[in-house]
């Protein structure tokens, strides 16, 4: 318990440092409020001053920071400059789709990676193993935007099997099965790209973990006792695989809410990635800060959980030296 508190204290401290750095970096940068790619000659210097007053940007930086920090502690991230909506609402609006896509793809990635990784390790050096490994390396090397463009080109433009972009067909409303099916049909290509991109590293990781387990003494003894196949898998390999896999799960936590900017813009999906990217391009400070803080919190939390799980499962292991 003490360890948990200590780690949590660390997370809080880190959050403070991160807020300070990002707040400074953002607010010290020169800025104006011409969001789009064009100047509006109707905006007079006086009205810009007024804008700063309305948003409280005329106050000193430290006053602004403490006001922001105080509100942040109550989970109030302020108001988006661009839309005038609360940053929290803005994030909550975009979160579901990103979360949905990430969870679906993560489930696929983990199941497939475990299956192929273990199978490939158990049949090491076979043709099967070699092909799996090559596919994994290809998945590693393939730029996601390139894959997306190729898929859209072939499946959507050429063969018209899948929709080009977006989440819903025209006129699809409601919440029925047809609606869900329609959405699933739209999600197939982007999720395929996500799964394919995430698979490579995890397959290789599972494979090398399994290889190590297979090399260990207890497997040797188990095998010599005649335990094989499924039994070996369930009683020895899987239990030994679980700690590192849990760690990876913990480390993927922040990835759940962070959408991919490239994928979301190619497939026109209004998720967190696009929100962050667009607010960064238009210098919408409150939104940028809100997302940064939430995602760093999750990153730190994920690391912490991974640490704790590892310490719990293996008392000898201490990541922090």
């Amino acid at each position: 318990m003490k360890l948990v508190l200590q780690k949590f204290g660390y997370v809080v401290l880190m959050l403070c440092i991160i807020s300070l750095i990002s707040f400074g970096a953002i607010h010290l940068a020169p800025n104006s409020f011409f969001a789009s790619g064009e100047l509006n000659p109707n905006i007079t210097p006086e009205s810009l001053e007024q804008l700063k007053r309305v948003y409280g940007l005329d106050k000193s930086l430290s006053v602004q920071f403490f006001a922001w920090f105080k509100a942040m502690l109550q989970l109030d991230f302020g108001i988006s400059f661009a839309s005038g909506k609360a940053v929290r609402d803005e994030i909550l609006e975009r979160l579901p789709i990103t979360l949905l896509m990430n969870i679906i793809s993560m489930v696929f990635v983990f199941i497939l990676a475990l299956y192929w990784g273990i199978k490939s390790a158990m049949k090491q050096t076979s043709f099967y193993d070699k092909s799996i490994k090559q596919v994994a390396l290809i998945s590693y090397a393939m730029p996601s935007f390139y894959l997306s463009l190729l898929l859209v080109m072939l499946f959507s433009v050429q063969w018209k099997i899948f929709p080009i972009s977006g989440l819903h067909s025209q006129g699809m409303t409601g919440n029925g099965i047809a609606y869900m099916a329609d959405m699933a049909w739209h999600l197939i290509l982007p999720i395929f790209v996500m799964v394919f991109g995430g698979l490579g590293s995890l397959v290789l990781y599972v494979r090398s973990l399994t290889l190590n387990i297979l090399k260990s003494d207890y497997i040797f003894f188990a095998k010599s006792r005649g335990i094989e196949g499924k039994d070996l898998l369930i009683r020895f390999i899987l239990p030994n695989l679980s700690p590192p896999i849990v760690t990876i799960l913990g480390l993927s936590l922040p990835g759940l809410i962070g959408g991919s900017v490239i994928l979301e813009s190619i497939f026109a999906i209004n998720g967190m990635g696009l929100l962050f990217y667009q607010s960064a391009l238009s210098r919408d400070y409150p939104v940028i800060m809100g997302i940064l803080i939430i995602s760093s919190f999750l990153t730190l939390l994920g690391n912490m959980i991974a640490d704790l799980v590892l310490t719990k499962l293996n008392p000898h292991f201490k990541r922090r030296g």
Binding site: A29, P30, N31, S32, F33, F34, A35, S36, G37, E38, L39, N40, P41, N42, I43, T44, P45, S47, L48, E49, Q50, L51, R53, V54, Y55, I79, A82, S83, G84, K85, A86, E93, R94, P96, I97, S156, V157, K160, I164, S165, G166, L167, H168, Q170, G171, T173, S265, I266, A268, N270, L274, Q278, L281, S282, R283
Partner: protein, 507 residues
Amino acid sequence: MWYNFSMKTLLMTFLFFTSTVFASTLHLSISANPSRLNPILSTDKTSSDVAQWMFNGLIKYDKDANIIPDLAQSYHFVDDTTLIFELRDDVKWSDGAPFSARDVLFTYETIISPKIFTPYASGFMHIEYVKMLDNFKVEVKYKYPYFKALEVWMMEILPEHKLKNEADLMTSKFNQNPLGTGPYTLTQFNISKDIVLEANPSYFIHKANIGQIIFHYLPDRSAEFLMLKSKKLDVGSLSPLQLERQIDEDFRKHYTIYEDIAHNYSYMGFNLKSEKFKDARIREALSLAIDRQELVDILYFGHGKVCTGPFLPGTGAFNENVKAPKPDIARAKALLKEAGYDDAHPFVFELSTSANGSGSYSAQILQHQLKKAGVVMKLRIMEWQAFLNTVVLPRNFEAVLMGWSLGLKPDAYSIWHSESIRKGGFNFIGYENSEVDRLIKEAEQIVDQEKFDLRYQEIFAKIVADNPYLFLVIPNEITVVNKEITPVSTSIIGVMHNVVDWIKQDF
């Protein structure tokens, strides 16, 4: 009474719903999420694109850019500074509340309020007061004769009854759920779904024939084009490249193509405070060295016009006697030589521009053209915000490549008057011509359109003669409309000017 009223609305909504089953839908696209569907607060194009269907101003432009009454029944000037609007008495807000002069007064007070930020406030600063003469009559008193006295009132009117108790309009829910007098009302505005508008059954002209407008969110230009190609949009815009190379017979069978000049132009602006460009010969040489028509041909496949000056053709301020210079490399070289540059000591300068849009292509073409005249132009291409904040606004450049979007009523003050050189003003190139200054100030107080136009034509010629900018290109706006829709016609204000009358034959 109340009961009665709500029964009626209930009945109406019911009828309305049953009728929409058969009514048609207009499919449009937007490239970004609208930020605020509030006409006086929106600073982005997509917000105005959506909000324009829900609100009305007191007056508007007709098809030929003449001013005609909208929410007003009529208007007249009592003298140079006093304007009277007689309002229509048959207008209802889409929630049924009647529209009145109160709303006009409220809108004016909101715009000039220090608590909000609106880019449209500048026009209203010249007003001394706005007075309600009776429920449907408003008097506007200007501090002095003001040339845009009328145009200012194209500003959309907000509902007073809905907003009078709103503490902070900037963050109000109204901006996401607006209520107006316009031909359509908002029924769905959800970030992850399409935006849906329904025809307002009590619209004061008549209920729009097309029952529903759906805006599809397509952030990517190529995605929009692919949607058009698969015939899922009724109205869309094409780039010249798409028009020339990417559409087929089938596309032309399905869509009618309308082309008209866009209301913007691109230019290369020189930093006139920099020693390099103080010499007028240099500016003229560069102007002669570039081939504007080639720019139109490569960049827009000929779908554009060479820009000859600071105001748009088709408006009264346009001076048709001013012609674009013919490319003349020999003369350009001679001028450069006079100014002390030759092949051994070439004239070198840096052009900055933003990576948005066609900026980087135009810059590369210009670079190529100038090379022929022995001019070395270096390029610096940046992300928009960085470009604006580290280059344009601090005037940290030798030359910039940018564009201006202009309204139909030009206002030269913010770009060309020497007072706008100050920080935050848009005369960032530092252009100073006392003659032009005087003419701008003079024209500002002329309400009479013809006299105003004469002054502006003079300004036009004087600015062009000074070569502070190289005026480059006015691109064409290419719009395609589904052939099932009638009646559609082009107009200087775009094909969408008569959407209320559009009928879409669904087969």
